[in-house]
């Protein structure tokens, strides 16, 4: 006691407040209480604090007005309303999304079809937007090429070389729109060309054009003009193949020729038999 009162107490006085209010464990509490008993300094402080503390508890506590509860209910109701409004909005959005979700298989299908069609159209238009131009260009070009071939053929037919003239004949097969000019040129070659091979080749080329009545007519007229036995028999074969009745008279006329090759005579007779 004496010692404690003389010496400044080293005890952590801040801890004393724990005795006032705070839940502390028993050992701590007993330790605190034991110290206070033996230390008047701390005891004074604690007692003063405790007095104030107890007195604080006796101060009548302010109470809110009665309407505070009603105010709260009003506030809560208002709040719930705003929340449900928000909620409803969100819910309706969700419902729409759910609806979309259930519709999805057909939607997906529709969507993919739309995509496909769009793709097709896009592809079509991308290609075709250029096509008129391209088509125009290509047809113009092919027209030019055709014209070139015709010109080439005409001029080559005048060529002294037989092989060049044969090349001209082969060009004629590549010409798609054969006009009367070409046919005339070919028929002239067939009747007048000095080379047998050229004439035979011209004959073959004309057979391919036999759908044209002008060609048929020309071929029939050409029968009596041919001197070469090869061409004569070839033209007889062609007449049989085309079943050209108009060729009977010219063939009979040819048959009456005195200098006609015997083999060709046989050939023509056979042909006439097939035609009549």
């Amino acid at each position: 006691m004496y010692k404690a009162s003389l010496m400044k107490c080293e005890y952590d006085k801040e801890r004393l407040i724990y005795l006032l209010n705070n839940p502390i464990n028993e050992t701590e509490r007993t330790a605190l209480e034991k110290h206070i008993e033996g230390c008047p300094d701390c005891q004074n402080e604690f007692e003063a604090s405790q007095k104030i503390w107890t007195l604080l508890g006796e101060i009548p506590q302010p109470a809110p007005s009665d309407h505070i509860q009603a105010d709260f209910r009003k506030m809560l109701a208002n709040y719930k309303e705003t929340v449900t409004e928000k909620h409803n909005f969100i819910e309706s959005l969700l419902a729409k999304f759910k609806q979309l979700w259930t519709l999805q298989p057909s939607l997906q299908l529709a969507y993919s079809i739309v995509l496909l069609v769009t793709g097709l159209f896009a592809g079509y238009f991308i290609n075709h937007s250029k096509e008129p131009v391209l088509n125009g260009e290509i047809s113009a070009l092919s027209m030019e090429v055709q014209d070139m071939k015709k010109m080439m053929m005409m001029s080559l037919l005048e060529n002294p070389s037989a092989s060049e003239r044969m090349r001209a004949i082969s060009y004629s097969e590549e010409i798609t729109d054969v006009n009367s000019q070409v046919i005339e040129a070919l028929l002239t070659t067939l009747n007048n060309d000095e080379n047998v091979n050229v004439r035979l080749m011209t004959l073959e080329a004309l057979v391919k054009l036999s759908g044209n009545p002008m060609v048929r007519e020309g071929l029939v007229q050409s029968i009596t003009r041919q001197e070469s036995p090869l061409v004569q028999s070839a033209i007889a074969d062609v007449m049989v193949k085309l079943q050209e009745k108009k060729s009977i008279k010219p063939l009979q006329k040819l048959l009456r020729k005195n200098d006609l090759n015997e083999m060709v005579k046989d050939k023509i007779r056979q042909s006439l038999n097939k035609l009549i």
Partner: protein, 183 residues
């Protein structure tokens, strides 16, 4: 329902059962009002602030994690509401002028007629009102809201050790003011 813990109730509110806030209101509106009134000495403003605290608890219910105690969270919000109030009113509402208080106590003729006990209580009330806002808050939370130093530390975002020191100082300040008034 009354047996449910604060945290359970608040978690129900968070889950959408907003009516459970009514039970929490029943439990805490008085002590919350007490806290706010001690801090402001404004009756109507304190009542409005109580509503505001509960409104904020509804609005920010999703921020309640349930990890900490409901009370701690509630006082966090209450302190923010209080801060906003002080800011918007732009005044140091927490502190009375000490001279004014002394005049009020000693000058009034009624003071003599009061019983000794009543005199003591009024002196202490005045002393409490005369504390700095910080100290007053600590003592109100500790004495009237019956929060442990640990809980107060959580509300004020500090350590229990710091609270211990500060409560001790607050008690000393209160004592000295009280002794000055209640001679």
């Amino acid at each position: 329902m009354d047996h449910l813990s604060d945290n359970t109730l608040m978690l129900k509110v968070k889950a959408g059962d907003l009516d459970k806030m009514g039970l929490l209101f029943e439990r805490y509106h008085r002590s919350l009002y007490g806290f706010l009134f001690h801090m402001t000495n404004q009756k109507e403003a304190s009542e409005d602030m109580v509503q505001n605290v509960f409104y904020r608890m509804l609005k920010y219910r999703n921020s309640f994690s349930g990890d900490g105690a409901f009370r701690t969270w509630m006082y966090h919000l209450a302190r923010n509401v209080l801060k906003d109030y002080v800011k918007s009113n732009n005044r140091s509402a927490f502190q009375y002028d000490l001279k004014e208080i002394e005049e009020r106590i000693s000058g009034g003729s009624t003071a003599d007629q009061l019983l000794e006990k009543e005199q003591e209580l009024q002196a202490l009330e005045t002393a409490l009102a005369g504390l700095s806002a910080e100290n007053k808050e600590l003592l109100v939370l500790s004495r009237y809201q019956e929060l442990s130093y640990q809980e107060i530390a959580q509300i004020l975002d500090t350590t229990e050790g710091a609270i211990k020191v500060r409560v001790h100082r607050a008690m000393n300040q209160l004592k000295s003011i009280y002794l000055k008034i209640n001679v």
